[in-house]
Symmetry: C2
Subunit: 614 residues, 2 copies
């Protein structure tokens, strides 16, 4: 039977790249068409199993083959994993290419500004030697252990012991000939009982769960130093670029929520495994994990119903720091280890913002600071040690390359820097220095700023039809050619369209409006701001001058602007190593005032003003 | 293919009845031969599924049939469940008949002496109405809830909330339109969040896990009254009558330990389900379970390695009261409900003994009391409010009918009362008033006492060959006919043998020795004892006069002896309804001194003395 061919659209994540191919193409070939390289050793015979991808809608592709069943585990099949070379596209479909199947790598910001803190981790180790029981000393194991510990910990009678440790204790004590190391959390709970003296290591894990990526630091709590770092795309991306689409998916039924939670936990586990592998330690030696993330990720991680974050009045399920046991969440660290989520501020200002504040120290400074953590959702905080005011703005995924005709994420092949000289010649740089396959966020901002400077677009964002250059062409609407067809991977020109310019206007206006309303409510002018911190992965590749030219951020002298990288994970790390920082985190979450932008009387006016380029 | 027939022995539990049948017989027919009735509606066609039994060694019987797979769940098959009518005996085998497959019922003591206590349960319910969130009041759900609760509970910021409740909270609050009932345990942890006002009920479960049976009380914590009771044979019995054989089985590998734990949890769940069914309530409304049991059952219930209890110096894993979450143990009550095990005293004096003390109040009385809880393992406690001394003796399963030729447990058809008049005629009563099929513990004690009185045996336990009666016969050795062959279910005479008498001597000597050594160590004579409490199911059917005649207990006036029934479960119930009683339980566990009998210099001498009938 011959199928009638028609054209279908395949969207590849995390790039967000779209491609049109005839129905009946394999996912592998569609990816090639889109300029994305997927690993393969067998050349598409289905025998190497390297080209694993995740397909969102299984009905949009051919049925799973025997070859695939050989290479995929049951749980992978359940999550939508397929082999790209065996999967035939029948309808429009979204396909996620997980990092292990990629030949290229995305730039993920795994470091950021960090402040030194005095080491005071909640975890402590005690190497103890117990007297052996005899017929005249029949004290039970646990009481025997607590007795010796009581010389080092106060109120030892209140020390909790988890079920897993209780079960293993009798055998460990005897196998270790009564000399063991006890790991205690917060003088309150026994986390581990290990044979012999293991007090030479004490490890924790700090992780930032972003909407688009997960970044983790494995930290030596005896020195406070990161011993290994790792990162991964957030595997939830297949259910939507932005948090709202994921919340909508999760709200449909409890199974969906569980799927999203599982994907997230799997993602965190992958980063944890990667860092442990790098550090050559067993993950059971990780005794605490401190988690930050925006409120939606925080809820997804905990498997808590997130829908009310998205519905007015946008109330989260909880605000305060909580502690769970690793096995409850299926986190692959020590089974009885502690999982701590830092407190959140509000429905759209999460624990990542608290961590940003901790890492930049704006809550302790006399100086007035403006902190902008740019992402699909942008958090803005303004103030100093006396008062901090924050808000959240839906800047959307345009800076991540979505909704932009040739947009893509900051992966190999993306145009990340652009210059246009007065005779309208275009110079660009790509990530990895290879042939371009699209433009990423920082490239788009450069491009719009250069187009403004050169009069290619006007202050309203409209193309200037008087400009004469071969680079301007009319297709559906006006567009400007950035890279000629013979320069690109796909052989097709990379352009920026009128629609793209408008998307950027909306995104930058959202952020600018947030800044300006916060400044208004705090009664501050541009000149009052002493420091600007641009946080987040996207911000790291941003040219601050160009960001000011397009009006993404207020017009503050560049020397006052500091690009600080992934401060969220650094703040989590600070909390991991310090009891005092955790207390600070609680204080910050309770003290920082939240402004609901949508509710502000000046919002509409400010937003319309911000749409115009400065 | 025709199998060559040979004879095999089938042991049926919990009766402990042995029967010899030709190989190739069905389990169903072997049971009939043994005088035990198993339920059946289809007459052995394998279609009704009523004749479920548990087979210990699957290789001793035929393979599972298709008919069985239809009626048994996967987890049942894993645990050794079969249909009796489909299972053919090939080798010697032990078969457990669970209560649901029985036509007869065993007398299980589900009540006992109980002292009134002032109600002060750790569980409390609060019906609260929360203000609805608005755009100007965006407090998160948990903080909103704690805020209102803080009017009724102090230090509400320390209140813990479990993972299950956290996940469900946002939807419950909104579905209930912000009016909910919060169940709080010990002012420390939120156990349940329920829509509307549910403060009219508050239920807990008290359970005694004995070596041979599990007894539970469903208790209304608002009144302190038992609303339903239930009981079941301990399903572990298939792995041994006594705790030592079960510990040996569990010590072989971790899977065995898990099997024994699972059987126990299943058993407790069955009693819980039964009581909830009787009370017509959903088991999710049970918020706390208080568990007592001997130390081995305590460890099995928690899944803790029990082998060290059985090895010198017999140290248990822990002594103190602990609290776990129901879902950790897979207990089918409220998932986030609390499971409390009362403290234990020593390796062979468990939480059941603590409960016995609580229920009889011997720890608060001026009077000197002797408490004897008779079972496969017998616990003895002596003293008063100033000092209590205890020990444990391996009385063995003889009083449960095991190791006795025609012994059986106290189920329908067991001879439970015996009188022999001077012309050596025997009168007996059976449980249920039916034809006898064996003799149970209380019947055996009566029988031995009557044989002593009538000179049929001498003080050393030897048959008196001078006695002339048709009831005396010589087979392997001497035996005495209790019921003629035409009086019994099986058509075979029920007798007591020389070996049986010796078994009883050993068992009663063990108990008597425990009493006499404790009295010696406390410097007490028979006349110093003001009260004797005989606890335990077996004790309930005991004739105290005859117990003294055979020297099971010291010679103390009968008016001072009180048979108190299942005080273990009553003590558990007292702890369930009262915070103060739990504190008392901790005090008792720490205060009661334990004497290791095997270690006592007088033990051998006292034991040899006690073997002789008084």
């Amino acid at each position: 039977m011959k199928l009638r061919k028609y054209n279908v659209t395949v969207v590849f994540e995390p790039e967000g790249k779209k491609v049109e191919v005839p129905s009946g193409s394999t996912v592998f070939n569609a990816a090639k068409e889109a300029g994305i390289s997927i690993r393969s050793e067998c050349g598409g015979k289905g025998t190497c199993g390297k080209c694993k991808v995740i397909v969102k809608n299984s009905r949009a592709v051919s049925k799973i083959t025997e070859a695939e069943r050989k290479h995929l585990s049951k749980s992978e099949i359940k999550l939508g994993y397929r082999l790209a070379c065996q999967t035939i596209v029948l309808q429009n479909v979204t396909v996620m290419i997980p990092p292990e199947s990629r030949l290229e790598s995305r730039k993920i910001q795994i470091l950021g500004l960090e402040r030194k803190v005095k080491l005071s981790p909640l975890l402590k180790k005690f190497y103890i030697i117990l007297p052996k029981p005899t017929l005249s000393d029949i004290k039970p194991d646990l009481e025997r252990l607590l007795d010796v510990l009581s010389r080092q910990i106060q109120n030892v009678e209140n020390l909790e012991i988890g079920y897993e440790n209780l079960k293993k204790m009798p055998n460990i004590l005897r196998d270790a000939n009564w000399s063991v190391t006890i790991t205690v959390w917060n003088d309150r709970r026994i986390v581990a009982i290990e044979p012999g003296d293991t007090s030479n290591y004490l490890l924790g894990f700090a992780v930032d769960i972003g909407t688009s990526k997960i970044v983790g630091h494995l930290v030596d709590l005896t020195t406070g130093r990161t011993v290994a770092m790792g990162s991964i795309e957030n595997p939830q991306i297949i259910y939507g670029e932005d948090v709202i689409s994921r919340i909508t998916f999760a709200a449909a039924n409890n199974a969906n929520l569980k799927t999203l939670q599982k994907l997230l936990i799997n993602g965190v586990n992958k980063v944890l495994r990667e860092t442990c592998r790098k550090a050559e330690i067993d993950s059971s030696k990780v005794y605490e994990t401190v988690v930050v993330g925006n409120t939606a990720m925080h809820h997804f991680f905990l498997g808590i119903e997130p829908r009310y974050i998205a519905l007015s009045p946008y109330t989260p399920a909880l605000k305060k720091q909580i502690h769970l046991i690793a096995k409850e969440l299926n986190l692959k660290m020590n089974k009885e280890g502690i999982v701590t989520t830092l407190p959140i501020i509000a429905g759209f200002v999460g624990a990542d913002a608290v961590a940003d504040i901790l890492a930049t120290g704006i809550h302790e400074s006399e100086e007035i600071s403006l902190l902008v953590d740019i992402g699909t959702n942008t958090e803005i905080i303004i103030g100093n040690k006396d008062d901090l005011l924050c808000c959240s703005c839906a800047s959307g995924p345009a800076f991540e390359g979505a909704h932009i005709k040739h947009g893509m994420k900051a992966v190999t092949g993306a145009i990340e820097r652009v210059q246009i000289n007065p005779n309208l010649e275009v110079k660009y740089e790509t990530i990895g220095g290879v042939k371009p396959s699209g433009i990423c966020g920082s490239g788009i901002i450069d491009l719009v700023a250069e187009m403004l400077k050169n009069g290619i677009i006007d202050k309203c964002g409209r193309f200037n039809s008087k400009i004469k250059t071969k680079r301007m062409k009319k297709d559906d609407g006006m567009e400007f050619i950035v890279a000629w067809d013979n320069e690109t991977v796909t052989g097709k020109a990379i352009t920026i369209t009128q629609k793209d310019i408008n998307e950027i206007q909306l995104a930058k206006a959202a952020i600018y409006t947030g800044c300006s309303i916060l400044m208004k409510r705090k009664n501050l002018k541009d000149r009052d701001i002493n420091r600007v911190f641009i946080a987040g992965a996207f911000g790291s590749y941003l040219n601050p001058e160009n960001a000011k030219i397009i009006g993404l951020i207020p017009d503050i002298p560049t020397e006052k602007i500091k690009v600080v990288g992934n401060t969220a994970v650094m703040g989590a790390k600070m909390a991991l190593v310090s009891k005092e920082v955790r207390k600070k985190a609680e204080e910050i979450a309770n003290r920082v005032r939240y402004l609901e932008l949508a509710n502000d009387p000046d919002f509409n006016q400010e937003f319309l003003k911000a749409l115009i380029f400065p």
